[in-house]
């Protein structure tokens, strides 16, 4: 068992990290928000934590906290700007945000090392930390599920106007969730930096944001383990199939498209669907 862990430690760590990031997007999808800000928010957390630990000599814990706060703050700022407008602006503005952060990072050589990136980041991130974080995320989503707040989220997904007519400020709830999602992404960015030991602006671009959104969609947005299943598939699939990079892209695209078109409740719901079909037959 421990041999197995040693052999696949990298993949396991990546799976856990991606699952945590997938949760940050899942929260938003549940209230009709498609965020492509994950890459940009991760970059903010990553560069802040690297600066604090490597230049200012901060211990890892406080640096993580600072990264979490910075992610939350950035998301709150962006959300305040665009969430009062119609929903499509949100997806576009978050995509633009990620791109702006990437361009700034490319040009801020003293902090980010420019396009070449930063090498030799100390490895602080431990598997148990990622595991604990993922467990916390799963618990929080579970706790939300059977509560009036969870019902309200479900209602927003179906009909925002009905929730507004019931006297709830939909944009405020969405802002709160986007802020929480920003906190997770900022924290995730810091953990990623101290896991990979090397960071460049291209790590936090459009593709990064897209993977974080695709994972919960693939696994199932309304399934408690959807984010985990989706992230595991997206992380393990490329490792197992030793295809060319191009073929992997095509495959990931195709699997995602098929899931959205034919399995809107996600792959994590497959066992239940099959079971029901078996019972009917």
């Amino acid at each position: 068992m421990s041999d197995l862990y040693a052999a696949y430690e990298n993949v396991i760590d990546l799976c856990l990290l991606n699952a945590v990031l997938a949760f940050s997007c899942l929260l938003l999808l549940r209230v009709n928000l498609l965020s492509l800000a994950t890459g940009g928010l991760m970059a903010i957390g990553a560069y802040l934590s690297i600066w604090l630990t490597m230049r200012e000599g901060w211990p890892f814990g406080p640096a993580l906290l600072a990264a979490t706060g910075a992610g939350a703050l950035a998301a709150a700022g962006l959300g305040t700007l665009v969430l009062r407008l119609r929903g499509d602006y949100f997806a576009m503005a978050t995509l633009a945000f990620t791109e702006v952060v990437r361009i700034l990072a490319l040009n801020a050589d003293p902090v980010t090392g420019g396009a070449l990136g930063i090498f030799g980041i100390p490895k602080y991130t431990q598997t148990w930390q990622l595991l604990a974080l993922l467990a916390l995320a799963i618990y929080l989503v579970w706790a939300l599920r059977r509560s009036s707040l969870g019902d309200r989220m479900r209602a927003i997904a179906e009909d925002e106007l009905a929730v507004a007519a019931a006297g709830h400020d939909v944009a405020r709830l969405q802002l709160g969730l986007f802020t929480a999602s920003g906190a997770i992404a900022g924290l995730g960015g810091a953990l990623a930096a101290h896991l990979n030991l090397f960071v460049a602006p291209s790590d936090f671009g459009f593709l990064r944001s897209m993977d974080a959104v695709i994972a919960p969609v693939l696994g199932g947005v309304w399934n408690l383990f959807g984010a985990v299943v989706g992230a595991a598939i997206l992380t393990v699939l490329p490792e197992v199939l030793r295809f060319s990079a191009q073929l992997r892209e095509i495959l990931i695209g195709a699997v995602t498209l098929l899931a959205v078109l034919f399995l809107p409740t996600g792959i994590a719901s497959l066992p239940r669907l099959l079971l029901r079909r078996g019972r009917l037959a």
Partner: protein, 293 residues
């Protein structure tokens, strides 16, 4: 100097405008955000290039083939990605995710077929005349690009305004329910809108690759972001706004390179977007109202 920047900015902006008009057309008519538009742009550029390189077609013929091919790719997008979702009444974000996934397939396929390195049009196909006005050197290519771009947008405008089919498109844009009531061919309009949008993306792809002498599988990512920028500048679904917004973005970008250097060129547009969102959230030229509630 000013004249030089003006022509640089306008030719760049014209390509943005062509792309953005196609983007905003789909949004305005069908109320969906098609994020695979950048990949269609990229495929248009490759098809045009291959027509010139392997079939030795003259440039106008190559561009026509590329534009048609991109239009068909647009139709495939509608048929494969958006129609099933629309029939199911899926959440709006599903269309965005599905079109992103489709773009990923198209980009991977382009890498597989054409390789990942940047390639360019053979020199012989290019208009290499240069007009010197004072200190400005205006390349013939820039003038051609500007002309073709404006012609494409104008053609679309005339089609929408004066043909029966254009009227049908505008009816669906106003309300799909109304369109069904008055018997407009809604399904055909959907397909045609995606076709037109694809042709514009493909045309923009060819013009872009001529102007900048580079074709690569990833060229669609940048233009997609520019398209989104113009979409917000001009107002969602506003065709005239997209034309003006595209030209404006081109001018502002070229101006910013002169003012602060090229490192931030791609960020300037987004700065503009933030400013717009703060002051005029429905776009510079918008008549529509932002969603309330």
């Amino acid at each position: 100097m000013i004249l030089q920047q003006l022509i640089n900015g306008l030719s760049l902006g014209a390509v943005y405008a062509v792309f953005a008009v196609g983007f905003t057309l789909v949004f305005g008519v069908l109320n969906v955000l098609n994020l695979s538009q950048g990949a269609v742009f990229m495929w248009g550029a490759y098809v045009g290039l291959e027509m010139v390189r392997t079939l030795q077609l003259p440039l106008p013929a190559a561009m026509t083939v590329a534009v048609m091919a991109a239009g068909l790719l647009g139709v495939v997008t509608e048929w494969l990605v958006f129609r099933p979702l629309q029939r199911r009444g899926a959440h709006r974000w599903m269309g965005m995710v599905a079109s992103l996934a489709f773009a990923r397939i198209l980009i991977g396929a382009a890498q597989e077929v054409f390789g990942t390195q940047v390639i360019r049009y053979p020199d012989a196909t290019l208009v290499d005349a240069t007009l010197v006005v004072g200190e400005a050197r205006i390349q013939g290519l820039q003038v051609v690009a500007l002309g073709v771009a404006l012609a494409m947008v104008l053609a679309l405008g005339l089609l929408l305004k004066f043909t029966n089919f254009g009227r049908a498109i505008r009816t669906v844009a106003f309300s799909e329910t109304v369109a069904r009531l008055v018997g407009a061919p809604v399904a055909r309009v959907r397909g045609a809108t995606f076709f037109l949008s694809g042709t514009l993306a493909g045309g923009a792809g060819v013009l872009w690759s001529l102007l900048f002498q580079s074709v690569s599988p990833f060229m669609g990512d940048t233009i997609l972001l520019k398209g989104l920028t113009v979409l917000i500048l001009g107002g969602l679904g506003n065709v005239a706004g997209a034309l003006v917004g595209g030209l404006l973005l081109g001018l502002v970008e070229v101006g910013s390179v002169v003012a602060v250097g090229s490192g931030f060129r791609d960020a300037v547009g987004f700065g503009l977007v933030l400013l717009i969102l703060l002051t005029r959230p429905t776009g510079l030229f918008a008549t529509r109202e932002a969603k309330r509630a």
